[in-house]
């Protein structure tokens, strides 16, 4: 039982990270039907920006929590700007082109950003000051680190904030309107280019937050760290029903849990296999993903 609970906690933590990254995929897909393969790189860039800022601020003698908070906000802002630049450069000129062209542009952007990180930050892993959030609780076999609580808590806060943004604000209404009917949205006064840029920015900011949490949780960041979680988060977004915010959360949690339980009860060797078998299985019976039925209801 303790073993099960511990694995459950592990799964929720990993799932929360996937969910945060998946939101970016799903929001961008919802609004311009583009699978933004460069999204994982925002996650990596956020992780790097975070450690650079934390180290700098810590050197200025700030309290560790203040360092963390400020770095989190600034990194999210940085990645938001980066994503807007990427959108402007690589996707906007292709808005009228075929979807395949934009997809290829996204793949190219991913390679470009990853190599940019490698050239500027080096090939070695960059260590995170994990001592900021060291420690946790233990009950027998079960251990919960502060970092796990922090990850799940911050994910919950960001999700609530995102939901309010999308469903209760002017920007959110504009995003939903644009995703449903771009021409009509323009005709009721919405500048769709700006809304699309905003969507990219929000998705990238969430990925940046995930990048910092992953850095703190696992202890280091690496230029190629965006690739694998990017693929998993993409799978999570598709599983949950791409274009659907709640779906991204559910998909993220499922992929995280399946991975952990497959590794915990069967073998770590096959965990990815299980994750993707679940994905294929769900898509076989529900091609639109878990939340696919009312996909239009809540999609951004």
């Amino acid at each position: 039982m303790e073993f099960f609970i511990q694995q459950l906690i592990n799964g929720i933590t990993l799932g929360a990270v996937y969910a945060l990254i998946a939101l970016g995929y799903t929001m961008v897909y919802g609004i311009i039907q583009l699978i933004n393969f460069a999204h994982g790189e925002f996650f990596a860039a956020g992780g790097y920006m975070g450690v650079i800022l934390i180290s700098y601020l810590a050197a200025q003698g700030l309290h560790p929590y203040a360092c963390l908070g400020i770095s989190l906000v600034l990194s999210m802002g940085y990645c938001a700007l980066l994503a807007m630049a990427v959108e402007q450069l690589a996707y906007k000129p292709l808005r009228q082109a075929s979807r395949l062209a934009a997809l290829l542009s996204a793949l190219g952007m991913s390679i470009f950003l990853q190599n940019g990180l490698m050239l500027t930050q080096g090939v070695y892993d960059k260590p995170y000051p994990t001592e900021i959030t060291a420690g946790g609780f233990e009950w027998g076999l079960i251990s919960v680190s502060y970092m796990q609580i922090f990850i799940v808590g911050l994910t919950a806060v960001l999700l609530v904030a995102l939901n309010i943004l999308v469903f209760k604000t002017r920007i959110g209404r504009a995003m939903r309107a644009t995703s449903q009917d771009k021409v009509m949205a323009a005709l009721v006064g919405i500048n769709s280019n700006r809304v699309i840029a905003t969507t990219f920015a929000i998705g990238a900011a969430l990925a940046a937050a995930a990048g910092i949490m992953v850095g703190l949780y696992y202890g280091s960041v690496n230029y190629s760290m965006g690739f694998v979680p990017g693929i998993k988060a993409f799978a999570a977004a598709v599983l949950g029903g791409i274009g659907n915010i709640t779906g991204a959360l559910i998909g993220g949690l499922i992929i995280g849990m399946v991975e952990i339980f497959a590794a915990g009860y069967i073998s770590g060797e096959y965990k990815d296999v299980f994750a993707f078998v679940i994905l294929i299985g769900v898509l076989y019976f529900r091609p639109t993903g878990i939340m696919g039925e009312n996909v239009d209801d809540t999609r951004v």
Binding site: L165, R170, G172, A177, A186, L187, G189, N191
Partner: protein
């Protein structure tokens, strides 16, 4: 004030001449009907005015400035709103939200303000909701506030489209076949609503096939055939105009 003038508008799609030298104007509080057989270019006129299509030549003036070449959202913020022949509501939003979206260009709080739930943001939301509710009330949809658009009956959806256009606080409204699919009783109701709209000082340009509606409320009528203006005048004159009759009968 809010005078819309089309000046020698031409639109070409490849080799197809969709509009040729179309010129007419619309003044404050006026209801002008735009009629003509199918494929005459009526909707193209709307698309040129609202910036969906670019005119090949000619210009559109509004409120003393040229609006040709502006993007659709900029045209709306100038004060020109529009409805569609086939209903294009945001189907998954509530009636109120549909109207609130139209307030986009009349409000300004951005992402940061929205996330922080600043007091300015909350105040603005309240104002937007209030104005949108007024637009719904105006179109007799006051009790349908939280109804999801796709669940509304057809006639109500038509009226919601107009309510949404009104919610953007326009001075000019372009209505594309507002009576399409309505039964005679609903058509009469619609004419009353359009009358109320002009009472607000909003001028209306309307494409409509239902001649009862057109003749009933339009102060002037413009007739298009194959992209060319063949007549312009009072309803009585148009009804007797031989060219117009030929164009319709020739169909």
């Amino acid at each position: 004030m809010a005078n819309l003038t089309l000046d020698d508008i031409c639109v070409r799609f490849g080799g197809l001449q969709a509009l040729t030298d179309v010129s007419f104007s619309l003044t404050e509080g006026e209801v002008v009907g735009l009629i003509g057989p199918n494929g005459a270019g009526k909707t193209t006129v709307f698309n040129v005015i609202t910036g969906v299509y670019k005119a090949s030549s000619g210009k559109v003036d509004y409120d003393g400035s040229t609006i040709t070449g502006l993007r659709p959202y900029q045209v709306l913020s100038m004060g020109i709103a529009r409805t569609f022949q086939n209903i294009r509501l945001f189907q998954n939003m509530t009636a109120l939200e549909n109207c609130m979206v139209a307030q986009h260009s009349r409000s300004k709080v951005g992402v940061i303000g929205a996330v922080l739930r600043s007091s300015a943001q909350r105040r603005e939301e309240e104002v937007i909701a209030e104005k949108s509710q007024k637009a719904l009330d105006f179109m007799g949809l006051g009790d349908k506030t939280d109804e999801v658009a796709s669940n509304l009956p057809y006639g109500h959806q038509r009226r919601l489209e107009i309510a949404r256009a009104l919610a953007s606080e326009p001075q000019t409204i372009l209505l594309d076949e507002p009576a399409a699919g309505l039964n005679p009783a609903e058509s009469v109701e619609l004419m009353e609503y359009i009358g109320h709209i002009t009472d607000l000082g909003i001028n209306v340009l309307m494409v409509e096939h239902d001649m009862k509606v057109v003749m009933g409320i339009c102060s002037r009528i413009v007739v298009l055939d194959h992209g060319v203006m063949i007549a312009e005048g009072l309803p009585g004159e148009i009804r007797k105009n031989p060219t117009v009759i030929e164009a319709y009968l020739g169909q």
